[in-house]
């Protein structure tokens, strides 16, 4: 496993569990023993996650990434020590941000549910391998993340138009579509990852799947 294996879900899960800070460690940049250089992906993901944390009102400094080799024990302790001091200074999760426990939990849960959607929409940027560490700074912008959540799409099957043909149902990668032959299909919003596979699959002559952009959701936090 490479640090590039670290998933958005891991970081958010840790915060959901109530930890005050999350530290991600990777090998030194440009010193990959393979050709993977996955630590750049880890960096990219951490920077995106910081923007997401900021979006939901959390202090992004609660998340940190550093790169070091297995031989740098002293650096490891120094970096962790620094981070612990920083998190202590920020204060307890939620409290320091002026958020109640439930509010924080619901926001983190909402973001966690959108992870598949984020991976779809930001696929290219998440896969990008930029030239240098500095190039990742500001690669994901706050505006972009705000827009991402503002313009979240959702899909809905119009029961009037649905021909119950099973095409979208079979296509759905997460089995979020209920129904059967001659039984109008329905998308389970709890399971849906908003990938749009059903929208693409529904024959144009039926046009039963509707795409709705910017549905009011729990992440409209701007006001």
């Amino acid at each position: 496993m490479c640090s590039g294996r670290v998933d958005l879900g891991f970081m958010l899960r840790a915060f959901s569990n109530g930890v005050d800070g999350v530290f991600v460690g990777g090998c030194r940049l440009n010193e990959c023993n393979y050709i993977t250089h996955g630590n750049y992906h880890a960096l990219n993901l951490v920077l995106l996650c910081k923007k997401i944390l900021a979006h939901i009102g959390m202090n992004p400094e609660r998340l940190s990434i550093a790169f070091m080799s297995g031989g740098e024990g002293i650096r490891f302790t120094d970096v962790v020590e620094d981070f612990v001091q920083k998190v202590k200074a920020i204060g307890p999760l939620g409290k320091a941000e002026g958020m109640g426990k439930d509010q924080l939990a619901s926001r983190l849960e909402a973001v966690t549910r959108l992870i598949p959607y984020i991976k779809i929409v930001k696929r290219e940027k998440l896969a990008a391998r930029l030239d240098s560490e500095a190039a990742y700074d500001g690669y994901f912008t706050s505006d972009e993340v705000d827009r991402l959540f503002r313009e979240v799409v959702s899909y809905h099957i119009d029961p009037q138009k649905c021909q119950a043909c099973m095409i979208c149902l079979r296509k759905c990668p997460v089995e979020a579509i209920a129904g059967g032959k001659k039984q109008v299909h329905v998308i389970d919003p709890d399971k849906c990852i908003r990938c749009g596979a059903c929208f693409d699959a529904c024959p144009p002559r039926f046009g039963a799947v509707e795409k709705i952009t910017g549905e009011p959701g729990p992440l409209q936090l701007s006001e």
Binding site: F10, I35, G38, G70, L126
Partner: protein, 937 residues
Amino acid sequence: MDSVEGEAGDFSVTLIKKPRYVIEGKCTGCTTCVEYCPVEYPDQFNQDISSNKAVHIYFAQAIPLIAYIDDSCLYLKEKKCRICEGVCKNDAIDLHQTPQKVNLNVAAILLSPGFDVFDPTVGGEYGYGKMQNVVTSMDYERLLCATGPYEGEIRRASDKRHPHNIAWIQCAGSRRVTPGNNSYCSSVCCTYTQKQVILTKDHDEAVACTIFHNDIRSYGKGFEVFFQRAEQLPGIRFIRSFASIAREIPESGNVIVKYATPADGVKEEEFDLVVLSVGLNPPADAKELEKKFGIELTAHGFCKTRPSNPMETTRPGIFVSGAFQGPMDIPESVYTASGAGAQCGERLDHRRGKLTRAKLYPPERDVSTEEPRIGVFVCHCGTNIGRVVDVPSTVEYALTLPYVVHAQEQLFSCATNSAKEITDMIKEKGLNRVVVAACSPRTLEPLFRETLREGGINQYFTDMANIREHCSWCHSKEKEAATRKAKDITRMSVARTAALEPLQEFDLPVNKAALVVGGGVAGMTCALSIADQGHEVYLLEKDADLGGTARRIHFTLDGQDIQAYLRDLVRKVYRHPSIHVYTGATITEATGYVGNFVTTVTSERGRTQITHGAAVIAVGAEEYRPAEYLYGEDDRVVTHLELGERIARADEKVIHATGIAMIQCVGCRNEDRNYCSRVCCSHAVKNALKLKAINPDMDVSILFRDMRTYGFNEDYYREASNQGVRFIRWEPDGKPRVEVAKADGRDVLRVIVTDPILDREIAIDADLLALAAAVIPSAGAQEISRFFKVPVGPDGFFQEAHVKLRPVEFAADGVFLCGMAHYPKHIPEAINQAYGAAGRVLTLLSHDIVTVSGSVCEVTEKKCMGCGACISVCTYGAIEFRETRQGKKAVVNPVICKGDGLCNAVCPTGAIILKHFTDEALLSQIDAAIEEPAEAH
């Protein structure tokens, strides 16, 4: 080494093994003895800057990682002390060991004694040993290192302060003919200095760094860019000047360096610290080696080798690798080691595998229907863990965790008896999963996997909780907190382990044949070595004849006749019964993976499908066709290869020329090609010397940017200069111009260049102009790279798996690399690398099977939405789309997958998973980081 008798194929060698005073089989490297040892003496590994104990481990990565006792031991000197015996819990100390005579019967001998660092006290001119703040680059290397004398802080000896203004003096002991110095270039110092500068700036951005140099010799792969990286850092000055140590300022300990620049003349400047970039000497015991092994040395004291085989000493059956050949960098050392190994293999092939025994394991128990039954083994690591972490209480705690049915402490979990204890417990308690709470999995995980196999359960049912590096070592002063943390780490590990699944490593058969792509010197040498060890080799050459670039080279700097050598090589290849040559060959398709490739080739023999277990990419490189300096417009402008050919055929215009000019760095070290072609400086010197031999009165001028005649070629550079070859330096902003002109009624090419020392333009009239045209990647490189799914680097040359550690392998298993396909190189270097690749190929082909890791990625087809995110992040090309009735679906080839899991992190639906590091296992571990309140259970 005491003595060698006999001959190649049957040497009898006598060794004297010095006592270690520590029983290797018993010592676990816990270092308790080191801590209690009362004798402090200078730490040799840290250049005597800090101190170590009489009993110690040589350095942090020593192999084996166990202690030894030095002559400074009180018992050995005065029969006192014996504290180490008392504190060693494993009874590993044996102060009564005596030297052992070991007799070996071997077929071949490989010498790799390395080099010794130049000693700057010899001439006394560098102030080293007299001025505290003059250090060698080796001293400085240790100062920079986290395991160094000041734990990675750069401090100077006089006042232990951090220096803020450091100077490096290049070529300390090198490129100088004065007694005590070496006339050759040490090859590695320019780049290691740049590395030290970069690391210094990493330590402290504010440090001013000044490098006094004679030429920047960034001739290696990636070195030019590395130099630019160093040069562009703030506060860095590279000053081209000879520099000497003038004096020390007694009050501050600062050092005055004297140097000269064209603009300011002679100057003196004060520095806090001066680093001497010391060069490479032959090993101190070279003379002794010469006598004992019956080999010969060169005038410089390095090992004498044959030009056609730089790894062969003058005595048959004795080979040499590494810097005993001459100054070289890590990658070359690594591939000469592999190459010399291959040549030993040629002599031992008939006995290959005769002494190996297959290990037998009990059948694997099927635990699929069982609940997890976890055993936790908490290691004391002598006192490394035990004296900080309360091990018994951690054991007690482990027993309260879900699925844990057994927990115990162990003194050293890695000791043989402890492994036995684990396998016994697996059987006795019916354990189906094991957590070892000890150290980092980095070194010992394979050992514990082995232990599980011996216990009859799947080897992937284990996890290591690192309570040493991540706990006891960093919390030695907070015992209670450390114990709590050890419990947390163990709890997390138990949670993950419960979610682990059994994985199968699978064995692939290995096709015993090799494919070598490219029939130049590298390809042929590699093919011969593989074929000599009993393997069929298919050798592909795109041209009608074998030979590659060497066909255009007639002699080397050392005077070797390349055409005669080549004829001999080609004859050997054609006569070899196991080498099948395909000329006029083009690859049309290549599929498969390690051990099982299928490559389709069209050649003069028609269309052939070749099955092979390994492939070697040796497609060479090409000469750049210049677009500058009137090349192609005026037939008096030629490249160095063309000049060499003209010299060889005694071309009238060359022989009777009054003046010949040469311009270096044509088509490289520029924006288009930001690399150095490595060979051209020596190439120019070679042609210049040849011209001077033909007509000593001929005016030969070489217009260069940096003369990069590294290694022993420096002697020829000096020789050329002595013979009156003019060396004129130019800088990129004062690039030479070439005009057609008349001088005294003679038609000439007029080369105009700005001399940076004179700071004005000078003109040179020549009858012929030779251009050092860049060496550029082979035109077919891109296509080959696609066929074999191996990368090319930013310069278009093939990119090895690891620049230093795996210089002849690709990240894709089963595909290897040598010769100029990797980077421009001289013929002896290509031969070194070709044998090196052969050695790696043999390591693969000598096995009947290859084992593929179980921890690879896998796609759940139903969940795959065919978005291709996984494919775009996989650097190995292990994932492809497959058409199904539900559209495109990703599929992983587990043989190619390296198990990094990048795909897993970008997959939106969780369709692709990295086995052993699944979301389920890792999230369980994350959840367990927080101790759940009792009611949550």
